[in-house]
C-alpha cells in the first residue's frame, strides 16, 4: 500500500508538472486579460493608481454570455476603473463553478462577476463578504440571489436579462395582424427559459396571441421540434435560451423556408437570420453591470443598496436579408428606428 501511495503521489506530481507547463504557455493570454485604463484620466483624478482584482466566473462558452463578459470588461475601461481581470469558465460543469468561486475567495479578489444563474449561485455560496455582481440571470429573486430587486440586501446584486417581452410580442401584430399563434422552442433544463415561457403565456392573451411551446432537452432535438411546431403556428418567437441560441441558424433557416415571421429576444439572434428584435443586448447588459461594479469599487457603495436592474438600453434591429426573403417592406412602421443588420 505504501508503495502504491508513493506512486500515486509521483504521478500526481508529474501531472502537476504537465499543468505548470501548460500554464506557462498561457501566461501571455492572461496578460491580455488585464484591462488598464488610459493614463490621461488617472493622472488627473486618481493620484495613486488603484488596481482592483476582479474574478469573472462564466458558466459556459456561449455568444450571449461572452457578450456579457466583453461588455463588462469594456464598460470598466470606459469608466476608468483599473482592473486586473481573472477570467474562469466552468464549461457548464456546476461543481467546477463552485471551485472557481472558492479560488476567487482564496485569492481575495475585490469583486466577483458571475455570468449565468448557477455561476452566481455558486459565488453566493462561496462568499458572503466579497461583493458579487451577476449578469444573465432572468429572475434573481426566484434564484434567491437577492431579497428583492429594489434592495438586494446581501453582498449580491446585478443585472437581469429579462426581456421587454410585451414589446417583442407586439411586434408580431405590428408586422402582420393575421398572426394568431406564436411558437416557442425552449430548453427544459434552463430555469430562465421556463420563466420566459410562463411570462409569454401570461402576456399573450392581452395582445390577442396564443403561445404554443415545445420543450427540448438536447440540441439535436431542435430540427424535429421546429418541424412539428411550425405546422401549428403562424410565427416563431426565440427567447433567451442558451440551447436555442446555439442553434439559432437552424431556427432562422427553417422559418425562412416556411415564410414565417420571427421575432428574437436579443440582438445576436437577428445577426443569425431572425427577422427582428426589440430587445436586450448582452453587451449592453455587461456594460450596465460594469457601472454597478464601479459604484461598489470606486464609490464604496454596498451591493445591498444597489438595486438589481433589468436592461436599460434595448435595441431594435432587423435582418435585411430575411426581410427581403419574406417580401416585407423595409418602411413598415413596425421597423421604424431599427438598425439594419445584414
Amino acid at each position: 500500500m505504501k508503495k502504491g501511495i508513493v506512486k500515486l503521489l509521483v504521478l500526481l506530481l508529474i501531472t502537476m508538472l504537465v499543468f505548470t507547463g501548460c500554464s506557462a504557455n498561457d501566461t501571455p493570454s492572461k496578460e491580455e486579460g488585464t484591462v488598464t485604463n488610459g493614463s490621461q484620466s488617472s493622472e488627473q483624478n486618481v493620484p495613486e493608481e488603484v488596481v482592483f482584482d476582479i474574478g469573472i466566473s462564466q458558466l459556459a462558452d456561449h455568444p450571449a454570455l461572452d457578450d456579457a463578459r466583453r461588455g463588462f470588461e469594456d464598460g470598466l475601461k470606459e469608466l476608468g476603473v483599473n482592473a486586473n481581470i481573472h477570467y474562469q469558465n466552468s464549461q457548464g460543469d456546476i461543481p467546477t463553478s463552485l471551485t472557481i468561486a472558492e479560488k476567487f475567495v482564496k485569492d481575495k479578489v475585490d469583486l466577483i462577476y458571475a455570468i449565468a444563474t448557477p455561476a452566481a449561485q455558486s459565488a453566493k455560496q462561496a462568499t458572503s463578504d466579497i461583493p458579487i455582481i451577476f449578469s444573465a440571470v432572468t429572475d434573481p429573486v426566484d434564484a434567491e440571489l437577492v431579497d428583492s430587486m429594489e434592495s438586494p440586501g446581501g453582498n449580491v446584486t446585478g443585472t437581469s436579462d429579462l426581456t421587454p417581452m410585451d414589446r417583442q410580442l407586439q411586434l408580431f401584430k405590428d408586422l402582420d395582424s393575421n398572426i394568431k399563434k406564436v411558437g416557442i422552442v425552449f430548453n427544459t433544463s434552463e430555469p430562465n427559459s421556463q420563466i420566459q415561457v410562463d411570462m409569454a403565456k401570461e402576456l399573450a392573451p392581452s395582445i390577442d396571441l396564443e403561445i404554443v411551446e415545445v420543450g427540448i432537452s438536447n440540441i439535436n432535438d431542435i430540427p424535429q421540434a421546429l418541424d412539428s411546431i411550425m405546422k401549428k403556428v403562424d410565427a416563431i418567437y426565440t427567447i433567451t435560451d442558451n440551447m436555442v441560441a446555439s442553434a439559432i441558424n437552424v431556427v432562422s433557416e427553417k422559418a425562412i423556408a416556411n415564410k414565417m415571421i420571427t421575432v428574437g429576444a436579443e440582438d445576436s439572434h437577428v445577426k443569425d437570420g431572425i427577422l427582428v428584435t426589440d430587445g436586450l443586448s448582452y453587451y449592453e447588459l455587461g456594460r450596465q453591470s460594469a457601472a454597478m461594479a464601479k459604484e461598489i469599487l470606486v464609490d464604496g457603495k454596498s451591493p445591498a443598496n444597489i438595486p438589481s436592474a433589468t436592461s436599460e438600453n434595448t435595441k431594435k434591429a432587423f435582418n435585411g436579408e430575411t426581410l427581403k426573403v419574406l417580401e416585407l417592406d423595409e418602411n413598415n412602421p413596425a421597423l421604424q428606428g431599427a438598425e439594419k443588420v445584414q
Partner: protein
C-alpha cells in the same frame, strides 16, 4: 489550510460517495450503468423537495438515498426482466429521470440558500469524513456477508452463482439499488454543499466517477490490502484536488475539459504501463501467492 484545497477535498469526499456507488456497478457487477447521470440530480431534487416540505435535513438526505435505490431497481428490472442490454437500460433510466427530475419540484433550478443543511451540524469536512467512513465501513461489512459474497460472485462468475441454486438476477438488482442509492445520496450532499440543485449537475458525472475509480486503481497495483472502497475514496479526492490545482494555476478555462480527460488517460496508461515495468516483481508475487486466483480481498 488553503481554502481551495479544502473545498476540493470536501467536493472529493462528496464524489467519493458517488465513486463507491459506481464501484459496485462498474467494478463488482461489471455493468456500465449510465443511469447515474440521472440519479445524481435525482438525489439533489429529492432532497430539495423534502427539505422544502419542512423535513429535517438529515432525514431528507437519507430519504434521497432510499428513493435513489428505486432508480437502480428500474434499471435492473429493465435488463433482468425485459432483457434490455444493461448499457441501454441505464440510458433509458437516465432519460426517464430527466423528466422525473423536472416534475419533482416543477422547475430545473432550485435554490436552497434559505434552508438548513446537513452541514449546519458541524464542520463540513468532519461531517463529510464521517459520512464517507460510515458508508465505507458498512459497504465493506456488507461485502463480507453471505449476500455480499454472492453479489461479488455474480459479477465474477454468474454461472457459479446459478449452480449454487441462487438467482443471480436478485443480486444484480440488489447491487444496482445500493449503487444508485449512493449516487443519489451523493447528489443530495452536493446540492446542500453548493446551495442549489440544478438539472444539469449530473451531466458527465459518470466520467468523474470512472476517473475516480481508475485513479484509485493505481494504488491497487501492488496491494491486496487496500479495499476497492478505499481506492474509490482516495481516487475521488485525488481527482478533485488535481482539478482544483488546474483551476488555481489559472489554466486557460477552455482547456479544462481536455485536462480532465488527460488526467484519466495518464492514470490509465500508468496502470497499463506499470504492468510491463513491474512484471519482474509480479512474477515473484505470483510464486509467493501459490494460488493465482482473484481473492475476495481484492474487492
Amino acid at each position: 489550510m488553503n481554502s481551495l484545497i479544502v473545498t476540493s477535498i470536501e467536493q472529493g469526499l462528496i464524489f467519493a460517495v458517488l465513486a463507491m456507488g459506481v464501484f459496485i456497478s462498474y467494478k463488482i457487477l461489471d455493468i456500465a450503468d449510465l443511469s447515474v447521470e440521472g440519479t445524481f440530480p435525482f438525489g439533489a431534487f429529492l432532497f430539495a423537495r423534502f427539505i422544502s416540505m419542512g423535513i429535517n435535513p438529515v432525514i431528507s438526505t437519507f430519504s434521497a438515498f432510499l428513493f435513489g435505490t428505486l432508480a437502480g431497481l428500474l434499471t435492473a428490472t429493465l435488463f433482468t426482466k425485459l432483457r434490455i442490454k444493461p448499457l441501454l437500460s441505464g440510458i433509458l433510466t437516465m432519460t426517464i429521470l430527466y423528466s422525473v427530475n423536472l416534475k419533482i419540484n416543477g422547475k430545473s433550478n432550485i435554490p436552497l440558500f434559505k434552508f438548513s443543511s446537513i452541514y449546519d451540524l458541524g464542520s463540513k469536512m468532519l461531517i463529510l469524513v464521517l459520512i464517507v467512513v460510515t458508508i465505507k465501513i458498512l459497504l465493506d461489512w456488507f461485502l463480507k456477508t453471505e449476500m455480499g459474497y454472492l453479489l461479488i460472485a455474480t459479477g465474477d462468475n454468474e454461472s457459479l452463482v446459478r449452480s449454487l441454486g441462487e438467482d443471480s438476477n436478485k443480486y444484480k438488482i440488489l447491487g444496482l439499488m445500493i449503487s444508485n442509492g449512493l449516487v443519489a445520496l451523493s447528489g443530495a450532499l452536493m446540492a446542500q454543499f453548493q446551495g442549489f440543485a440544478d438539472i444539469t449537475m449530473g451531466s458527465s458525472i459518470i466520467v468523474v466517477a470512472l476517473a475516480s475509480i481508475i485513479i484509485g486503481d493505481t494504488i491497487k497495483k501492488n496491494s491486496n490490502i487496500v479495499k476497492g472502497t478505499t481506492r474509490a475514496i482516495l481516487g475521488a479526492v485525488a481527482y478533485k484536488i488535481i482539478g482544483g490545482i488546474a483551476i488555481d494555476l489559472g489554466l486557460n478555462p477552455n482547456d479544462l475539459k481536455a485536462i480532465n480527460a488527460i488526467i484519466v488517460i495518464a492514470f490509465i496508461s500508468y496502470n497499463n504501463f506499470a504492468i510491463d515495468i513491474f512484471n519482474i516483481f509480479k512474477k515473484k508475487e505470483v510464486d509467493n501467492n501459490a494460488n493465482g486466483t482473484k481473492t475476495i480481498e481484492e474487492f
